[in-house]
Structure formats: structure tokens, C-alpha cells
Subunit: 221 residues, 2 copies
């Protein structure tokens, strides 16, 4: 039981989900948790700011130690609980290199996804351009084709595929449910595999259950 | 000697420099290297694309293993050469957590820096807005004040300061030379410490020697 851990989180946020999946994978259930609302701006509340000066979720503490960045929390948990639960970092040099490589490439994918999904939200009126959104969509499409190719190769060796499935970058790819599985069959298969993983099921964000339709923004990518 | 390693790099790129510093810290000198020109678009050459489908630098190989993402390469090198040279990841849980945390926060800093430095370059004509650049500058200023505060605290314990100095996120902060040391005294001190580190000196990018003036874009941040 992880009673000396506290997680403040928001539903549907891939970084929050990443930490929750890592906690499940490391058998660290039973931590203190509080679901906060992004809509009500609770991530900017004093409760969060006291632990996380950026006013972001997740906000994570283990005893006196604070690790708010989601990937940082995953690395920290893996390092502190190496022999507990599932390994998040594979042993063999080749698998390890691939996992690190895809993990950091996943940040690039996420950035490109955000640039499309939140374009309307983060670009102020008067600075919006259809040409910019169109370009962001094309960039995202190219990125997705790259991942299709990666997964095509990796499926040939199911061992590697397993490593990637367990890795902390996987929540980013749960966003694939928003995409056309016909256009991106490998990503569709990967999403189908991920969502059956016990750690993913146990931490499925409530918002995603309520909104099975997905976001229209991604329908033409 | 690291003769089974190959690095294709571009001068002045913090991600390339990050890998070079990590190689120095791990006593992995003597690797094969090739300096390519961003201006001549050599990062999009077939030589790079064969190893790195993103057409980016750094492009790094160790034997048959490719790890192109700079942080991924640092993690990989630390893991494969744990007992060689300097440790890039500290042992104690508190120091480790802080190092991971600042490392991933460093990505956020870098993103905000890029949004100012390359605004003119990456935003097409017709989509540029003074209001957007101004906002990006304010966001960067807020970010820098946060780091000033972090360094103020960390200097109290020189041990922790040492860990951060060795960590793979340091090259991002070598960009501080572009900033006013009067306005950001802690960052100024940190920069002064970093630039004297042997691994940093040994890998100082030639472009930075030729252009001691710095970029005007940052003078009013």
C-alpha cells in the first residue's frame, strides 16, 4: 500500500494518466488521491500551487519528495521500486534504447497533437489562421504515419512490442482512440492492446467513459 | 575509446551538445563524429535520413543501436556505462527526484525559449503577430523567474547543485549566456559554473566561439 504517496490529478489528462498507470504497474495502489477539475481551474488552487509552482496536474508527492513532471515521476517510481511490480525499463541494451527513443519521440507526437486539438483554445482571437491549423494538421498526419511505420516493424517481435506497451509513454497513445483506425491500422491495433492492459483499465479516466464519441478535431487527420 | 559510436551533429544545437557533454562525462572520447551544417540543410541529407527518419541532429549510433533523441541517448549512455566516468543520475532518492523533475521542466523552458528565438523563422509571413511574440516573451520571462527561484534554493546545498550541474539538462541552460546576468543573477552564476566544467569546455560549439555577441532577440527578456 502506497499510503505515503499523494496524487492530485485531472481526468482525461495524459500526463496524469501516465503517473497513474506507472503506479498500477509498480503495484503501488492505495495512494492518497484527489480528482481536481480543470474546468473549475482547480489546478491553479493554493492546494496545488503549494506543491507545484506551475499550477499543473499531476502533482505528486512521495513522503517529503515532490516529483510533478509525469515522466520524472515514472523514472523516479521505477528507480525506487525497481523489483516491485512490472519493470518499466527493459534490461537489454537494444530494447532499452528503443524504449527511451520512442518515449522522447512521444513528446514530439504529443506536442503536435496538442497543436491541433487545442488550437482554438490556446490561440487568441485575432491571431487565428486557417492556414496555421491546416499546417498543424498536416504535420500531425506526417507524425502519425511515422508511428504507423514504427509499429509495423516492432510487431514483428512481440517481445519488443510488450516492452513498449509497458513503457510510460503509452498514455499519449491512448489518444489514438480519437483517430481513424482504418487510416491508421497499426495505431488502432496498438490502442486496442493498450486499453486491455490491467493498469490502463484500472486507471481509465472517468471523462473518457462519459464521452465515447471523441473529438471532432481529429476526424480528418 | 568509443570507436563503435558515431555522432552526426550540428554546431550550436543544445540537443547535439547534450549528447556530446554526456559522452565527455562518461569518458567516451574518440567516437566517430561529423559536423553537419543546418544552413546547408545537411540534416535532411540521405546520410542522416538513413539513421534518423526525422532528419534531425543529433543522430547517434552505438554499434547497431540507434538512439537519436538527445535525452534518450543520455539515459542510454548512463545505463550502459554506469560505472564509467561521472554519474549522470544521482543515487539518493531526493536528489534523483529533483534531477528528473528539473530535467523534464527543462524541456518546458526550452520550448518557451524556442518560441521567442525562432518566432521570426518558424512563423510564416502573414501569420505573424507582434502580440504573439510579446506574449511569448512574457511567458519566457515568467519561466526564467521560476528558475531563478529554483537556483536560489538549490545553491544552499552545494551537493545538490553539483548533481544538477552534471545532469543532461544542463546544455539547455548554456543558452543563459544570451540573457542579462544582472536581471537573472542566479542563472548568470549557474552559467558561469557550467561553462567551466571540463565536459562543457571540451565540447563547446564552434559557432558559439565565432559569435560572442549573442542574439538580440533575448536582450529585453
Amino acid at each position: 500500500m502506497a499510503q505515503d504517496m499523494t496524487l492530485l490529478w485531472g481526468s482525461g489528462s495524459p500526463p496524469c494518466w501516465r503517473v497513474m498507470i506507472a503506479l498500477e504497474e509498480k503495484n503501488l495502489q492505495g495512494y492518497n488521491q484527489k480528482l481536481l477539475s480543470f474546468e473549475k481551474m482547480e489546478h491553479k488552487s493554493q492546494e496545488v500551487l503549494d506543491i507545484n509552482p506551475r499550477g499543473q496536474l499531476p502533482t505528486f508527492k512521495h513522503g517529503d519528495i515532490t516529483v510533478n513532471e509525469s515522466y520524472a515521476a515514472c523514472f523516479y517510481l521505477e528507480s525506487q521500486f525497481k523489483s516491485q511490480g512490472n519493470k518499466l525499463i527493459p534490461d537489454s541494451p537494444a530494447e532499452q534504447a528503443l524504449m527511451y527513443q520512442r518515449m522522447f519521440e512521444g513528446l514530439t507526437f504529443y506536442e503536435k497533437l496538442i497543436a491541433v486539438v487545442y488550437y482554438d483554445w490556446f490561440v487568441p482571437e485575432g491571431e487565428k489562421h486557417d492556414s496555421a491549423l491546416q499546417r498543424n494538421k498536416e504535420v500531425l498526419g506526417t507524425e502519425l504515419k511515422l508511428w504507423e511505420g514504427y509499429l509495423q516493424k516492432v510487431q514483428m517481435t512481440s517481445h519488443l512490442y510488450g516492452s513498449i506497451q509497458k513503457s510510460p509513454f503509452c498514455p499519449t497513445f491512448l489518444c489514438f482512440r480519437r483517430l481513424s483506425a482504418e487510416r491508421y491500422p497499426q495505431l488502432g491495433k496498438y490502442y486496442a492492446l493498450l486499453k486491455e492492459r490491467p493498469s490502463v483499465k484500472a486507471s481509465w479516466p472517468p471523462d473518457w467513459l462519459e464521452d465515447p464519441k471523441g473529438q471532432d478535431t481529429l476526424k480528418d487527420i
